[in-house]
Amino acid sequence: MVVSEAKEIMRISWGPQHPMSGQFRFILETDGENVYEIIPDFGFTHRGIEKILEYRTFVQGIVPFERLAMVDAANVGLAYVRAIEDAAGIEVPKRAQYIRTILCEISRINSHLYAIGLAAEAAGGYPAIFLWTTADRELFLDLAEMLTGARWSYAFFIPGGVRADIPEGFKERALKVLSYFEKRLIAYRDSWLENEIWLTRSRGVGRLSAEDAIKLGAAGPSLRGSGVELDMRKEEKYEAYEELNFKVAVQKEGDCQARFMVRFLEMIESTKIIRQALENLPPGPFKKPVPPKLPKGEGFARVETARGEMDVHVILDGSDKPYRVKVCAPSFRNLYVISKLPKLTKILVADVPVVIWSFDPWYLDADR
């Protein structure tokens, strides 16, 4: 349907059934090449998680909550669990904090590998890196399965600690996987990061300045790609991140290449974190018994998921089910930034997949 005869702008619907859009619909107003407007159409995968949680006890609630951003299940599950612990004032034993950090970083590497594979494939053709990342994710899925029993939806964190201790043989296996993964990262860098045609496709495309990123509310790698250093692991110092030293990956240009590079560097940091956490894993209990009914209270947790900062606001009313759970999802804000991007920089139709996948939105996270 033509929007304005003068500039012959036509309105193309991008998704939800589109090779590169995932299960989300963008409406593009374009004249064939230049894109003037990207309108995200929310609600296609809305499941009403916030209502479902009011009908489930705390431990049961973690299972649907993780399905908000399933590819990064550990960090998302951690947000809900920390919100409950913050509301009820539960202290988590040291060893549980370290095990949580290890699983969170494994899940972060999983999610970033997934994002890097798709970002590379969004630029066109079928580059090998798209399948290398899938092949290398298998090792981390096996690691998570060894620790928790499931490859994707771990449901491993419960208020007061974790559900099981680290099995023996996990540490050696993890260290071997990490050293193999670091060699693979070198192969990624050689074959893709300096790839001439990828650089021409992604450098300077979808540029987001620092104050725009802050004003519009970008989250996670999209924010750090524009030079704003905000990482919840350093701000909130939750779990074991206080004792482990790691750098926050920040890039200044703010274009697709910078966001891609931030995810790449964050994977390197994650391997360091897992190594340190495995080396000085404290002894002691991995779980503290928590009564099913938690006292009245209000809790707020902010966790750095792979897609950005997820904030969960939980209100308890003394029963064994939460009274209200409010989730501020990072992908919701990233999608909002994508919709404002055509006003900030020039975007062509061929750039739309590269730009969208450089923000790595997870649509179920945005639709809640």
Binding site: F42, G43, H46, G48, E50, K51, I52, E54, Y55, D86, I214, K215, L216, G217, V228, L230, E235, E298, F300, R302, E309, D311, H313, I315, R324, K326, C328, A329, F332, R333, Y336, K340, D367, R368
Partner: protein, 152 residues
């Protein structure tokens, strides 16, 4: 400027409009405001106190006290502090001024609060359904406590 200074700065400029303000956690401040003063306090927060990074907004339904509370979560980048701006409205006819002029992103969050709780935001450019399908019948607000989920 730590948490107390922020609260003091707000109470000085808008003394009577602030219903209640307390420090929830280190670096997290919660301020409950009368609906009339919402927009002025929000612009004050954004311009002079530097709360420029909006995180989200949501509403909470209290049928016992017959009120719906709207909460705005804003983060200040240079202060490294979070503020929860709250406003209460009566449950039977919830009306609130819109903050989409202050933080552009609130436009979407207010649309969601409108379709889930029924809060009418005056001055909102486009109050339409965000997450629910277009043919969702009027007057039914799913996130309210009286909307029962069909139990499996």
């Amino acid at each position: 400027m730590s948490e107390e200074e922020v609260i003091k700065a707000i109470s000085e400029n808008f003394g009577e409009l602030v219903v209640e303000s307390k420090v929830l956690r280190p670096k997290k401040v919660s301020i409950t405001v009368k609906p009339e003063g919402l927009v002025s306090i929000a612009t004050f927060l954004r311009d002079s106190l530097g709360f420029d990074h909006p995180l989200g907004a949501g509403a909470i339904d209290y049928p016992a006290e017959n009120k719906i509370q709207m909460v705005y979560y804003i983060w200040s980048m240079n202060r490294r502090m979070l503020i929860m701006l709250r406003a209460d409205t009566p449950r039977d006819n919830p009306r609130l001024p819109t903050l989409s002029s202050v933080w552009d992103q609130m436009n979407l969050h207010e649309r969601e609060a409108w379709e889930m709780f029924g809060i009418v935001f005056e001055g909102h450019p486009r109050l339409e359904h965000l997450l629910l399908p277009e043919d969702w019948e009027e007057g039914v607000y799913p996130l309210r406590k009286d909307y029962k989920l069909p139990e499996r």
